[in-house]
């Protein structure tokens, strides 16, 4: 007997694999789940969401250290605390993180200890969790209310409790203890309906919203705080609580709501680790419109008119909304290129025109080859891609050939396309920056640069013709968010891979002897914007480059060399006798392991504080100038003069 046999088949068809849970159970039964953990992600990817908590129960029993001995999987330390019993979150969170290729190392707080947990000072030498989840529920307020109660009593309790929570959150943030996630609290009917007069009941609703509003505003006040709004999850039909679990185990959020919350929490963790996806590659027939373009012709596809046509148009509006926030859209379609371009240009109901896409690959090649081509042309990794198609065959093939690509299978019901796409927060990030809003425009400008390049005999001629200007200076306040985002999202040219939230970047701009330098670049085609950052620290006669990060959009133009030249020049002008740089190997930055060596530095050993870090040193004897094809403007600080 397995429960799997009793579950209803997933309505989305066979994209979801109902046998995946049975396979996982078989591995568990054989005792080989730890050794074969490498298979887990693929099994979970196609597992119906309703099976994930059961999978989580098995995965949560594994010892993370044992798993690491067998599989190379990134470990995320998450501290779970809250007002009530929070342990039931561990299993669904384990499964949700495993879906994204992450191994949970949970630290679960005892019952009701959240205020103490948040407010205690950071212990020196203690390993800080990467993320703290603090679960709040209706008892957070109602524990302070005694029978008989009136709305005024709840209002007073909610105010007092909000102020306590806000104080604890502030203490947590001021102690620099990392990302903190709180949540809004659904109001259970069992409280609202203890009030028999309808006016009071409505008033309770208003009081409750004020409490939740206060929790939501915490995220505005503290850049290191995220408030997960549980309302949209409950609105999808998830029960907020279970009377018996609440009564007997003091777990005041239902298993179903915890499962939905775990999914959101996993997206936050992913964003925290710089794993936000950037590009959405779409199929056309059955995905952006109904029918078959090759057979029905441009005028014959279902779009705009008719019930299904309107649903496809609505899906396009959702895509346009995502695109307006920096998600790059591209097309991979097995169709004739001219017909596709004609349709994108002229179909009266298209919301997304040709210029909404950074690439349109309409041809008869395999989709995984097209995805690779799009990745190459845009210069971003396949792990930044989401692929959407209605064909089970295409989805299956892409999933098999390119396991790094997130595959979203939409089915034959276009009204469900938006929910399918938004089921995972693939593009969730902490805050939008100017760079996000302009991203698509920048990639299109990049295509113009490529055409320009093709007119030149050599790459050096091209660089000389492009009129590149590089500006190095302290970031303005409005640019701190972008600097943080670069550290969070950049994987390749990220020499010491140090992820910094906004407050951490802000703190470094203020600290004596430290410099945060923003790198901006523009050329004759347009402004690249803020593309890099240097984190410098002066220690006596030595200027240390703690970290150096540069967006992959601007590689191979000499910008990185210009930055080094500027730092060396700055060091010499301010009386330093050496500059050191650190390289910390990560899974994605190996191409730049000898970057410092190529710029006149020599290896001196490893960092005593971090044995993974290789330290390079430049004694300022022979400082190479910045590449001649670009103009460099560098101003490192108010008292440092300006070197041009």
């Amino acid at each position: 007997m397995t429960e799997t046999e009793n579950r209803v088949a997933d309505p989305a068809g066979t994209w979801h694999a109902p046998q995946a849970l049975a396979t996982l159970r078989a591995l568990h039964r054989e005792g080989t789940l730890t050794a074969r953990y490498g298979r887990v992600r693929a099994l979970l990817t196609r597992m119906p969401a309703s099976d994930l908590p059961a999978a989580g129960q098995l995965l949560a029993r594994l010892d993370p250290r044992e798993v690491c001995r067998h599989t190379d999987v990134p470990v995320v330390a998450v501290s779970v605390t809250g007002h009530s019993t929070v342990a039931p979150l561990v299993a669904p969170l384990t499964a949700e993180l495993a879906r994204h290729g992450l191994l949970l190392e949970p630290k679960v707080a005892p019952y009701g200890s959240y205020l103490q947990d948040l407010m205690r000072p950071a212990t020196p030498g203690e390993d800080q969790p990467q993320v703290t989840l603090c679960l709040l529920d209706a008892h957070t307020v109602f524990d302070d209310v005694t029978v008989p109660w009136r709305v005024e009593d709840v209002e007073a309790a909610a105010r007092a409790r909000l102020s306590l929570v806000a104080g604890a959150v502030r203490a947590h943030q001021e102690a620099g203890r990392g990302l903190l996630v709180v949540n809004t609290v659904p109001l259970p009917r069992r409280y609202s309906h203890q009030l028999v007069d309808l006016r009071s009941r409505a008033r309770l609703g208003a009081v409750w919203r004020d409490f939740n509003r206060g929790l939501l505003l915490l995220a505005e006040k503290h850049p290191g705080v995220v408030t997960v709004d549980l309302d949209p999850l409950v609105a999808e039909g998830v029960p907020a609580w279970d009377a018996r679990t609440a009564q007997y185990a003091r777990a005041r959020l239902s298993d179903a709501l915890l499962a939905a919350y775990a999914r959101e929490a996993a997206h936050i963790v992913r964003a925290r680790l710089g794993r936000t996806r950037k590009c959405l590659v779409l199929d056309l027939d059955g995905t952006l419109w109904g029918g078959v373009l090759g057979e029905d012709g441009s005028a014959g596809v279902e779009l705009g008119a008719g019930l299904r046509g309107e649903a496809f148009q609505e899906f396009q509006r959702v895509l346009a909304q995502l695109a307006s926030q920096g998600v790059l859209l591209a097309v991979s379609s097995k169709n004739d290129s001219d017909t596709v371009r004609e349709t994108l240009r002229t179909h009266p109901a298209m919301v997304l025109r040709e210029d909404a896409f950074v690439r349109v690959n309409a041809n008869w090649k395999a989709k995984h080859d097209n995805l690779r081509d799009i990745a190459d042309r845009l210069g971003i990794g396949l792990d930044s891609f989401v692929f959407v198609d209605d064909s089970l065959f295409e989805c299956g093939l892409v999933a098999e050939q390119l396991p790094d690509v997130a595959v979203v299978r939409v089915d034959e019901e276009p009204a469900l396309h938006p929910s399918a796409l938004l089921a995972d927060g693939w593009f969730d990030l902490f805050e939008l920056t100017e760079a996000d809003l302009q991203r698509a425009g920048r990639y299109r400008t990049e295509a113009l640069r490529q055409e320009f390049r093709e007119d030149f005999g050599s790459y050096q001629d091209y660089l000389e013709g492009i009129g590149l200007e590089v500006v190095l200076r302290s970031p303005r306040e409005s640019e701190i968010g972008r600097v943080s985002q670069l550290t969070l999202r950049t994987n390749q040219f990220h020499l010491a891979t140090e992820r910094l939230q906004v407050p951490q970047v802000a703190a470094r701009t203020l600290r004596q002897g430290q410099h945060v330098i923003a790198v901006r670049a523009r050329d004759r085609f347009g402004d690249h914007g803020l593309v890099g950052a240097l984190f410098l620290r002066r220690e006596a006669e030595v200027l240390r480059i703690d970290n150096f990060v540069l967006s992959c959009r601007v590689f191979s133009r000499g910008i990185e060399s210009a930055c080094v030249a500027a730092v060396l020049e700055f060091a010499r002008n301010t009386g330093a006798n050496a500059v050191t740089g650190r390289y910390v190997p990560s899974p994605r930055n190996s191409a730049f392991s000898s970057f410092y060596a190529e710029h006149g530095f020599t290896v001196t050993g490893t960092d005593p504080d971090d044995h993974n870090a290789v330290v390079f040193r430049h004694d300022l004897g022979d400082v190479a100038p910045a590449p001649a094809h670009l103009r460099l403007h560098a101003a490192f600080g108010p008292s440092d003069g300006e070197t041009v």
Binding site: E3, R29, A60, R244
Partner: protein, 78 residues
């Protein structure tokens, strides 16, 4: 009673598959206190699973008062 939990062996399989607890036949009469992994949160998970499976309500308080897995099974199928 449905056939889904026909005997205590089926119950043991359920503990293993749904909760990840490897309970051997000889463990069924051992006190629950011997199982470091066992707690009331798991018991409530078990309630959800069993109720989904059997389509009826399980008496949670009776279940909380059991001392062994066998007693638990007896409450579930009562």
């Amino acid at each position: 009673m449905t056939t889904a939990l026909a005997d205590i062996e089926a119950f043991r399989t359920l503990l293993q598959e749904e909760l990840g607890l490897l309970v051997e036949a000889e463990d069924l009469d051992r006190p629950l206190d011997d199982f470091a992994d066992w707690d009331s949160v798991l018991l409530l998970r078990l309630v959800t699973v069993v109720e989904t499976l059997l389509g009826g309500r399980v008496p949670v308080v009776d279940l909380l008062e059991t001392r062994t897995f066998r007693q638990m099974y007896e409450v579930v199928v009562r």
